[in-house]
Symmetry: C2
Subunit: 269 residues, 2 copies
């Protein structure tokens, strides 16, 4: 396996390039083979999470960000769907409530970070507060810069207290989003996933690219790295994220806790 973390890591001064969303650097060239590989990797992730849970040493935080229809939900099912519910949590951050808006933007996020032995998935995250909010000018540029700094501080604190952070930008092209939205329009069974506002949001596409680019560059630290996932192909997206998570987990000193010699002498009456 190639060094996936190196391959997918957002480089310094990263700039989102539209044409790259369709590339498949990790593909075997055969879709059925890739799908099978994803399934096996998802099972391997589940097995490693079992050790993680028993060991209660590491905390894993997966942040999934991307445009509408970029496949965040599909990633949760495809890559993390095999994990024992005991040790995984998935938090979907929607538009904030009035109560949430009355606090700092990290207030609603903090309670959902993982504890020892846990793997937490953020389906959208605190990054929304420097993306949609900035695109629509609900915050000014100075506030956005402050928030970038707040995010850096928050994530460094998480990392220094034992959290392994994996941030994935699910990168789809404008053309692929159009196709996926049209699919949802044509199929009445998918109308529940569709919000007419999402279509209007497409006019801000270039602004979103700018905001994503700036957010990634401002917060792309070694202890909280950003990975760019080419996501026009759903299979390749899952293959890339599964590879990334697996490689990260395998780099940790995961092991079941050692036996306790005193316990071996216990008698059950």
């Amino acid at each position: 396996m190639p060094d996936v973390r190196k391959l997918l890591r957002a480089p310094k001064n990263y700039k989102i390039k539209e044409e790259d969303a369709g590339r498949k650097p990790l593909s075997s060239g055969d879709k059925a083979t890739d799908k099978q590989t994803v399934l096996e990797m998802a099972q391997r992730i589940s097995a490693l999470q079992d050790i993680l849970y028993a060991q209660r040493k590491h905390k894993i935080l997966i942040v999934l960000q991307g445009m509408d229809t970029s496949g965040k939900d599909g990633t949760v099912r495809g890559v993390f769907g095999q994990i024992d519910p005991l040790g995984v949590s998935c938090t979907s951050f929607k538009a904030p409530t009035e109560l949430e808006k009355s606090h700092d933007f990290l207030w609603r996020v903090h309670p959902h970070v993982p504890g020892n032995g846990e793997l937490a998935i953020f389906n959208r995250s605190h990054y929304e507060d420097v993306l949609i909010t900035r695109v629509h000018e609900w915050i000014d540029e100075a506030e956005c810069k402050r928030r970038h700094a707040h995010i850096c501080d928050f994530e460094r604190m998480l990392a220094e207290t034992g959290t392994v952070i994996i941030k994935c930008f699910l990168h789809i092209s404008n053309k692929e989003q159009k196709a996926r939205l049209e699919e949802r329009i044509v199929d009445p069974d998918k109308h529940w996933k569709l919000r007419p506002e999402d279509l209007e949001e497409r006019q801000y596409w270039p602004d979103y690219l700018t905001c994503y680019t700036d957010a990634i560059n401002a917060t792309n630290a070694p202890h909280a790295p950003w990975y760019v996932i080419p996501a026009d192909s759903k299979t390749h997206r899952n293959l890339a994220i599964a590879s990334l998570v697996l490689e990260t987990l395998e780099s940790l000193d995961l092991a079941y806790p050692a036996g306790n010699p005193d316990y071996a002498k216990l008698k059950v009456v």
Copy 2:
């Protein structure tokens, strides 16, 4: 399939009978067949949960209670391990913290009940506060009675606000618990699951049976039913709980939301 809810429902004036923990009323008689059935049911539960999530109408709460080693963790993996992490949460209630103890006993539980479209699993629950607490006389009989009433009120409120509640008592025999604890002692890889206190707790076995019996009888309502799961056989335990959950889900009006005719006219630019 038999009417599993009727078959497993704790009867009026229920009394835990030790000898019943090994019975297998749902078994085909062949273990491999039963295991395959559990797997298929777990996948079907996952498929129905997908509709539940899309529909955002029903809330499902599964309460798992049982003696140490009765198989609560194994149930979570075996029955609910196929569900998309997007729509399932599992909360394991351990010994309460000082902060939790400074509140009423439902305070730490309430934030974890399911919302619309969610399935929440309680791995232990508010019932611990009328079990271990009563066995050790940390509360007196009058307080225990009040708590039974508090639980009834709380669960009725949850049911009346749209929560489908399934409470499972995982019933193992004293002999089976002994065997499972001895297994954990012999295998150093299982020492992390073992707490020497658990062995001492066995002296209170008859008291636990009394407290479970009373709790079940005091809170066994049609809208919050208790089911008794014969759990000496792990496969049968999973088979029984999967059947119960599946039958309950299939009794609901689960359906993907209808298409919106206005949406069909939308254009993506």
